[in-house]
């Protein structure tokens, strides 16, 4: 709670900014590794985001690997049934959208879907539980538990997707295909007659337009997820502030929290699905000639 904690933040704005502060480590100018004095340092690492994202990724990998290890054709257990539902859901989504043959796309979609879902799911843990535990028991000052509210995490994933988009475009259409896609659309430059004079202008125009469109893919992918989760987290934090405002405010906050959490269940699933689906769509666009 905002008013509790001996060395914790005291005012509402302190409380909010404390919750939005990552646990960072970086090498200071003096050459020492320092905690939480890294504002603006591009070589800093958000330890909490990395920790939770890797932990959740490992959880996903271990859980699914355990199930994959003892799959039984005749007597599937409940976990296997659950995992198979998820896998089939992803597989169908991929099949509907991506018509080429690729061993990567479907596992990529599955990883993105489950991983992003798990990262988003951390949003439903009451906002003070883990940070307070970290502060009081482990002595860690900052702890942001929802990795997808960290723009680095979402950009990290969308950049991997962006690299894959370029890779698939070049693999299926060649470097010339990529260049052609960037320069010959949406206005086809004239190839003969007087129009040739205008061709460089049109190509430059196309290039600017298409580059923006290409770059917008990873940016929108990551910012959409980040924005949704960040806003959701912020609202949870704002509701949490109300808990310290007396019985009436507290009761109201409880109801609000419940409502928002239920609504958020939809959002976290939807955002995970959108991230996966758009990845598949981008990659299928990259590997298909229109």
């Amino acid at each position: 709670m905002a008013s509790e904690g001996g060395h914790g933040p005291q005012t509402s704005s302190d409380y909010i900014s404390h919750h939005l502060q990552n646990l960072q480590v970086c090498k200071a100018d003096s050459g020492e590794w320092v905690w939480n004095q890294c504002a603006g340092n591009p070589m800093a690492i958000n330890v909490d985001s990395m920790f939770w994202s890797v932990i959740l990724g490992v959880f996903f990998v271990v859980l699914f690997r355990l199930v994959a290890n003892k799959t039984s054709k005749d007597k599937p257990g409940k976990w296997q049934a659950f995992v198979e539902i998820v896998v089939e859901f992803v597989n169908n989504s991929v099949k509907d959208t991506f018509h080429g043959k690729s061993r990567l796309i479907a596992p990529l979609g599955l990883t993105i879907f489950v991983w992003v879902f798990l990262m988003n799911l951390m949003d439903l843990v009451p906002v003070d539980w883990i940070p307070e535990f970290a502060k009081r028991v482990l002595g860690i000052e900052y702890m942001k538990v929802v990795p997808s509210t960290d723009v680095n995490i979402t950009f990290g994933m969308s950049i991997a997707v962006f690299v894959l988009i370029l890779f698939y475009t070049i693999k299926n259409k060649g470097v010339t295909g990529l260049i052609g896609e960037l320069t010959l659309h949406p206005i086809a430059p004239p190839t003969k007659g007087l129009g040739l004079i205008a061709a460089p202008v049109i190509i430059a125009f196309n290039f600017i337009l298409e580059s923006v469109a290409l770059l917008a893919k990873p940016v929108s992918l990551s910012l959409r997820l980040f924005g949704n989760m960040f806003a959701g987290e912020l609202i949870f934090i704002l509701i949490a502030i109300m808990f310290s405002g007396g019985l009436l405010m507290g009761t109201g906050a409880g109801i609000l929290h419940l409502g928002w959490a239920i609504f958020h269940v939809l959002i976290i699933t939807l955002q995970a699905f959108i991230f996966m689906m758009l990845t598949i769509v981008y990659l299928s666009l990259a590997s298909e000639s229109h």
Binding site: I45, E84, R103, T111, N152, I153, I159
Partner: protein, 156 residues
Amino acid sequence: MDINLTLIGQTIAMIVFVWFCMKFIWPPILTAIEERQKQIEDGLAAADRGEEKLVKAQAEAAEIIEEARRQATTILNQANSRANEIVAEGKASGAKERERQLAAASAEIEQEANRAREELRGQVSAVALAGAEKILNREIDAKAHQDILGKLAQEL
């Protein structure tokens, strides 16, 4: 909210997880799913085939029963007509036999009667002869005549 090294870290983590998923998670699970789908498909196909077979077998059975019923009817009809024939035949032969036996019996009776008549005639003549003998023996005694004649008459 600054962009920092976390971005690279997350990209690396993602590559590792996706690689692991592609290598060790996706193939076995998908294989299991596809195997089960195939099994279910086969099972359904087998069930369909079984149902088809059942319908066919039922139709066949009905046909066989119908055929058997028809045959039974035919046999029954044949048996009935044969029985009628036999009865008629029996009646006819019975009548013939009766007539034959009747004829034989009447012939025998006639024969017997003839024989009896023959015998009787012989006996009558013998008696007459004996009577005549006795009459001749006792010609003297009228009374005796009378007597003998009475006896003769009685004997006749």
